[in-house]
C-alpha cells in the first residue's frame, strides 16, 4: 500500500522543528519513529500534506537519572528501555511496558515520545506515565513548559493538550522512593497486537506501609488513555490488604469504558481490567516492600 502524496522536510534541531511546525500549521504531522504514523499513512487513515521528520535530532535520545528524576528524551527508542540495566533494575514498570510494545524489531525505531504524543488509547506508555505521575516537557514558540501526564490527554481520541507549534521533548519520571513499586499488566492476543486491556499501577508507601501515592492508568478500554482517579483515591492512606485491593479493582473496572470488538465483548474487558488491576497492585506491593 502506498501513502498519499506529501512533502517531506527534515528538522535537524528542536528550534527548526518548531519553526517548521509554525510554517506548515495543521497540515503538518511530526514523524518520529514512524511506527504508528507510517502504517496510518499507508492505510490512508491519515493524509497530512507535510511530514516534519524529527527523528535525526540526536540530542533528544537519552536516558539519565539526576536529582531524583528520570529524564527520558522524547526520541529515546523503546529498545533502550528494554535494554538498559537502570530501567530493568529501578523502573520495572517501564521495562514491562516497553517489552510489551509491538515486537523487538519495531522497538528499534519506535520512540517513547511518539507513543505518548500519538495519544492512541491503545498505546501502552500513556497508562504507565499516568500511573507514574510523569511530567512531559513541551517546547514551542512560547518557550518551554511542563505538562502533567494527567493533563496531557484530552477527552478526544488521538488528541493531546500540546499547542500548535509545540513538540514533546522530554518525559520526566519521579525516581523510585524507598518503599515504592509499580507494575504493568497487559493482556494481548498475540505479539504485536494492541491490548485487550492493560493496567499500570504505581504506589509509594510510608513507613507504616500506608499508601501515600497511588497512580492507576488503563490501556485500550475507552476512547482515551484513562486515569482511574477514584481507584487511586480509594488506596490513599490504606495498607494494601485484599479488601482494599478489591475495592480499587472494582473502581478501576468501573472507570473503564470499553466497547465490544474482535478482541472481546465490553463486559469481558471490564472483567479483565479488574483482574489485571488486582494482579498489578499485588505485584507493585511486592516490589514496594522488597518482595521482588
Amino acid at each position: 500500500m502506498i501513502p498519499g502524496a506529501f512533502d517531506y522536510v527534515v528538522a535537524k534541531s528542536v528550534p527548526e522543528a518548531i519553526s517548521l511546525l509554525q510554517e506548515y500549521g495543521d497540515d503538518a504531522k511530526v514523524l518520529a519513529g514512524g511506527h504508528s504514523l507510517i502504517p496510518l499513512l499507508r492505510y490512508r487513515l491519515a493524509a497530512p500534506s507535510v511530514l516534519i521528520d524529527i527523528s535525526r535530532i540526536e540530542t533528544l535520545e537519552y536516558i539519565q537519572e539526576t536529582d531524583g528524576i528520570l529524564h527520558i528524551g522524547a526520541l529515546t527508542r523503546e529498545s533502550e528501555l528494554d535494554r538498559l540495566p537502570l530501567i530493568r533494575n529501578r523502573y520495572a514498570i517501564l521495562y514491562e511496558t516497553a517489552k510489551g510494545i509491538a515486537d523487538p524489531v519495531v522497538r528499534n525505531w519506535a520512540t517513547v515520545g511518539g507513543n505518548l504524543a500519538h495519544a492512541d488509547p491503545a498505546n501502552d506508555h500513556p497508562a504507565t506515565m499516568l500511573a507514574l505521575g510523569a511530567n512531559f516537557v513541551a517546547e514551542g514558540p512560547g518557550g518551554v513548559r511542563s505538562i502533567a501526564a494527567g493533563d496531557f490527554f484530552t477527552e478526544a481520541t488521538f488528541e493531546t493538550t500540546l499547542l500548535p507549534g509545540e513538540i514533546l521533548t522530554e518525559i520526566r519520571v519521579p525516581a523510585p522512593g524507598q518503599h515504592s513499586g509499580g507494575a504493568y499488566f497487559k493482556l494481548e492476543r498475540k505479539v504485536g497486537d494492541y491490548a485487550i486491556a492493560g493496567v499500570a499501577v504505581y504506589i509509594d508507601l510510608d513507613e507504616q506501609g500506608q499508601v501515600r501515592y497511588a497512580g492507576i492508568g488503563l490501556t485500550n478500554v475507552g476512547p482515551t488513555p484513562i486515569k482511574a482517579r477514584a481507584a487511586e483515591q480509594a488506596l490513599l492512606g490504606h495498607v494494601l490488604d485484599d479488601t482494599v485491593i478489591r475495592q480499587a479493582a472494582d473502581l478501576a473496572s468501573a472507570a473503564s469504558q470499553p466497547y465490544s470488538d474482535t478482541r472481546g465483548p465490553a463486559e469481558y474487558k471490564r472483567a479483565m481490567v479488574h483482574t489485571l488491576c488486582t494482579r498489578a497492585l499485588k505485584k507493585a506491593l511486592a516490589r514496594a516492600t522488597g518482595g521482588e
Binding site: 511506527h35 507510517i38 499513512l41 499507508r42 515486537d103 523487538p104 524489531v105 528499534n108 505479539v191
Partner: protein, 171 residues
C-alpha cells in the same frame, strides 16, 4: 509531492537516486534496485518478511520511507554471502532445515543477525522473543531457532579461532 536525492550504502555499494517522498524503503529496494530478496508479506508492520539492517539495527523496511535511509548503511539478505561463502546464518538455515516455503527466511535471517550482534549466545527463550515480530506461516519455528543457535555457535567459533583472528586483524 517533494522529491529527494538520496545517497544510501547497501551491502557495501553506494546507490544514488531521486525518489518521491512517499516511496517506501522496501519498494525502492525491490522495484527500483531489484534487490528482491527482501520480501513483502503483510504490508502492515506485522510479519517481518521485509526486515533488513539499517545502521546495524533490524528494521521493517515497509515502515520506513526511502528518504529516511538517506546517508545510512543498509544490509539486506543479498549482503550475507561473502566471496561465495554462505553466512553462518544461511548455513544454519540449510543445515537445520529451517525453511519450508522460504518466504519468511530473509526477514528471519536479518532479524536473527540483529539479535546475534547484540546477544551472541541467546537462549532459546531469548531467540523466541527476538523473532516474535517475524511470522513463519509454515510454523517452522523449532528449526529456525536451531538454525539461529547454530549460527551463534559458528560465529563465536570464528571469532575465537586464532587463525581467523589473525586474518581479520585489520579490524
Amino acid at each position: 509531492m517533494s522529491k529527494h536525492s538520496i545517497h544510501v550504502t547497501i551491502n557495501g555499494t553506494v546507490y544514488e537516486d531521486t525518489i518521491d517522498s512517499r516511496t517506501l524503503l522496501v519498494h525502492w529496494l525491490r522495484d527500483v534496485l531489484h534487490l528482491t530478496g527482501t520480501h513483502i508479506g503483510c504490508d502492515s508492520t506485522a510479519c517481518g518478511a521485509c526486515t533488513i539492517l539499517v545502521n546495524g539495527k533490524a528494521t521493517k523496511s515497509c515502515t520506513m520511507f526511502a528518504v529516511q535511509a538517506d546517508g545510512r548503511d543498509l544490509l539486506t539478505v543479498e549482503g550475507l554471502e561473502q566471496n561465495g561463502q554462505l553466512h553462518p546464518l544461511q548455513e544454519g538455515f540449510h543445515e537445520e532445515h529451517a525453511l519450508q516455503c522460504g518466504y519468511c527466511t530473509p526477514g528471519m535471517m536479518m532479524t536473527a543477525l540483529g539479535l546475534l550482534q547484540s546477544n551472541p549466545q541467546p537462549s532459546e527463550e531469548e531467540i523466541r522473543i527476538g523473532i516474535s515480530g517475524n511470522l513463519c506461516r509454515c510454523t517452522g519455528y523449532v528449526n529456525i531457532i536451531k538454525a539461529i543457535q547454530y549460527a551463534g555457535k559458528k560465529l563465536q567459533a570464528v571469532e575465537q579461532s586464532p587463525v581467523a583472528a589473525g586474518e581479520g586483524g585489520g579490524e
